[in-house]
């Protein structure tokens, strides 16, 4: 065949081709992602005792990943019935509608008035990135204020969007709670009209959330300064078991009249991690502006991936669009949240029973009666060196900032974990 002749020919003909060294000779090996690298290391570990409290994916009490029953049922309904046509650039309209109800409220006036510009996004990461790119394009002089600490990928996202970053105080290491006074100072001292990234609930990695009263004060101060609030809400329903309660911070800001932005994710609360389903919304002045903003968000999505993946969106809209399935989902979310709350209690009790001289109250509550750690993560207060010992000596994997993913804790391993933590943290 003609083609084979040519293929053979040019294997022999090296003429005309400049065989210089690789174009990529100077490419440095990239550092491993601090969070995802943990799971990689965990998987490579042959020890039968190994425990993964690294990445934030829910596990049942047997340490197994969970596919929710409501999700299984949704997939049964979807398979074989629907085609796989492209979604619009802004994603599944139905999925977005249902998702906005979760964040803004079932009967939100903003939804009725069509004031929300919203697009389906690639989970929370994708939503944050769309917003960051949008912020860069339309507020090129702005910066983003990010809490210390935060999910490490937040820094990557706004950096790749080329939005300069500043930080604000958040975590108080001594009390393992919220550094509220310093937080308020930073809000006051930021230039008027600054952009702030807020974790709506279940702060990652600390688990420390402001109380309702503190949120009201933050909102009030935001008003005074004309700041823009961007909420990353990745754990709605997952923190307290009640989605409305977990959206309290957002509802407070809405009540106070802020025009906010929200990143929502179904990775954890619907267990759809790898399906990459989320939503970015921006509350606008009116419908006309919402249309304009949405069209621009789509323009950013188009050269990134054109249109978002359909399968996960179908699962979400099937569940949330069916009252029975939605009810089932809410029950299943509560089960997950309750198990985590239960594990927090057990971990703390085990540590206290071991006679650990340190205080572990922060795992479940805070003696200053303001905040308690909540959600998937617990900021243990351990140092990177102590974490390294946990890994080397006990085959326990977590990120080096001492963040424990409570979802990885089970009745089966909580004793082992408590013992190990006690060993590495007790005074020498």
């Amino acid at each position: 065949m003609a083609c084979r002749r040519f293929v053979n020919q040019q294997v022999q003909i090296r003429s005309g081709a400049r065989f210089m060294s690789s174009w990529w000779q100077s490419v440095e090996p990239a550092p491993k992602d601090p969070i995802l690298g943990v799971t990689e290391a965990f998987l490579a570990d042959p020890s039968p005792e190994k425990v993964n409290v690294g990445v934030g994916a829910y596990r049942d009490d047997n340490g197994k990943p969970v596919v929710l029953e409501c999700v299984r049922e949704a997939e049964r309904r979807i398979a074989g019935n629907l085609n796989m046509e492209y979604l619009p650039m802004g994603g599944s309209v139905k999925m977005v509608e249902e998702t906005l109800k979760l964040a803004y409220g079932e009967n939100s006036e903003f939804i009725k008035d069509k004031r929300i510009a919203a697009v389906q996004a690639l989970s929370g990461t994708g939503a944050c990135r769309l917003f960051a790119d949008f912020q860069k394009r339309f507020r090129p002089d702005s910066q983003i204020f990010i809490p210390v600490p935060t999910w490490s990928n937040h820094h990557n996202i706004w950096r790749d969007a080329q939005v300069p970053q500043r930080t604000y105080h958040y975590y108080h290491p001594e009390s393992k709670g919220l550094d509220f006074a310093a937080l308020m100072d930073d809000i006051k001292n930021a230039p008027n009209g600054s952009f702030f990234l807020l974790h709506a609930c279940a702060h990652n990695p600390t688990g420390v959330d402001p109380s309702e009263e503190q949120w009201r004060e933050i909102s009030h101060q935001f008003k005074a300064k004309g700041h823009f609030a961007f909420f990353d809400m990745a754990y709605q329903g997952f923190a307290s078991g009640d989605p409305n309660r977990d959206a309290k911070s957002i509802r407070i800001f809405l009540q106070d009249g802020h025009h906010i932005g929200i990143s929502q994710s179904y990775a954890k609360n619907m267990g759809l991690y790898g399906q990459r389903v989320g939503c970015l919304s921006v509350l606008c002045e009116d419908e006309k502006q919402a249309v304009a903003v949405k069209s621009q968000l789509q323009q950013i999505a188009r050269p990134m991936y054109s249109n978002p993946p359909v399968h996960g969106a179908l699962i979400v809209s099937t569940i949330l669009g069916d009252p029975e399935l939605k009810k089932l989902w809410l029950q299943e979310v509560k089960v997950m949240a309750d198990r985590i709350i239960g594990m927090r209690t057990m971990l703390r009790e085990n540590l206290e029973k071991l006679g650990s001289p340190l205080s572990w109250k922060h795992i479940t509550d805070q003696h200053t009666a303001y905040c308690k750690q909540i959600g998937m993560f617990c900021y243990s207060g351990m140092t990177p060196e102590q974490v390294d010992r946990l890994t080397k000596e006990f085959h326990i994997y977590m990120t080096r900032n001492g963040r424990i993913s409570m979802a990885g804790v089970t009745t089966g391993n909580v004793g082992y974990l408590a013992n190990a933590i006690n060993e590495v943290t007790k005074p020498a």
Partner: protein, 420 residues
Amino acid sequence: MESLSTKETTSKDCNGKSVFENVVRAPDVPVYAVMVAYSKDPSPLKLNLGIGVYRTEDGKPHVLNVVRRAEKLLLDDKSATKEYLPITGMAEFNKLSAQLVFGADSPAIKENRVTTVQCLAGCGSLRTGADFLAKHYHQHTVYLSQPTYGNHPNFFLAAGLTLKTYRYYDPTTRGLDFQGMLEDLGSAPSGAIVLFQSCSHNPTGVDPNLEQWEQIRQLMRSKGLLPFFDNAYQGIVSGSLDMDAQSVRMFVTDGGECLVAQSYSKIMGLYGERVGALSIVCKTADVASRVESQLKLVIRPMYSNPPIHGAAIVTAILKDREMFDEWTVELKAMVNRIIDLRKQLYDALCDRGTPGDWSHIVKQVGMYAFSGLNAEQVGFITKEYHIYMSSDGRINMAGLSAKTVPYLADAIYSAVTRIL
């Protein structure tokens, strides 16, 4: 359940104006605007020949049987979870995808010189490649064919690269402007990136033949230009996956480097699942490994890790001999239907004595026919016949059927005789 009072909802004086006051409405994407117009058209005669999705003879969306089978397998697999994929995606998917485009016996694969990462279809693969090049490659100029797929410029612009074009389509012959292409590539600065479509060129349907590809390859290598292939229609030109990948494979067999963006949207009908892969063929395994680590840094702040479902379907099909064969049979049927429609349309146009030479309809290959109709003629056809296509005259052949070919032929005849 709290509800917000009227007073609170209308309190815009909280922060004054929106911080996004200055945002103007973006222009519609041209091909989507066509789709919207089509969907709003109440005419029972309307025909959608715009967006590039395959349709059945009944004009319906087409889900391949083998895809339905794969779906069922996945559904029945109770052990499957929805855990995050690695940043680079599903390993088995990546391996099989590389084999699909480069050939299972490709020395580059055997030597571990290829890094393949799962991306969001062809678009995501192109953008990831573009971002990688912007960060790590010394040359920031990208050459695109004139014309090319409407979204191509956007990926590279978003990455901050500079665009240039090379001559490609010759309107007088409705074929390849090969001399022009060689001249333009020949005058490109050393190291410039050149985007090729491996086959089934969108929008023109004009592909270089193998002799021409070989000349292009020699020129590229002698000038040290970097090839980047958009491989979205492998199998849709000839029905043979290997044949349609020849252009890419030439650039791998010669030991050189290239990038390849792969899409399963059309070839497996997985459009909305967004399944694809970016492969970078490197000189050495060590380089490939470092490149892969850097690709992760591009992907993580974009969407962290890719979606499972589509990749799981592809993997199920590619790894099972029987399902793979079933897929190639279905692919061939799709291709044959398109080739047959080209003949039907050509015959219908000739039968009507339509002025002009319409042989390009059967000479062009793949999903699209570049009709040669001008924007005015296209507008006329849309208005009078409710037939929708891109304003550049690109027709999605897969949107036709034996029933509708005569209608389209009537419309074209009408347009070229009434409007010159």
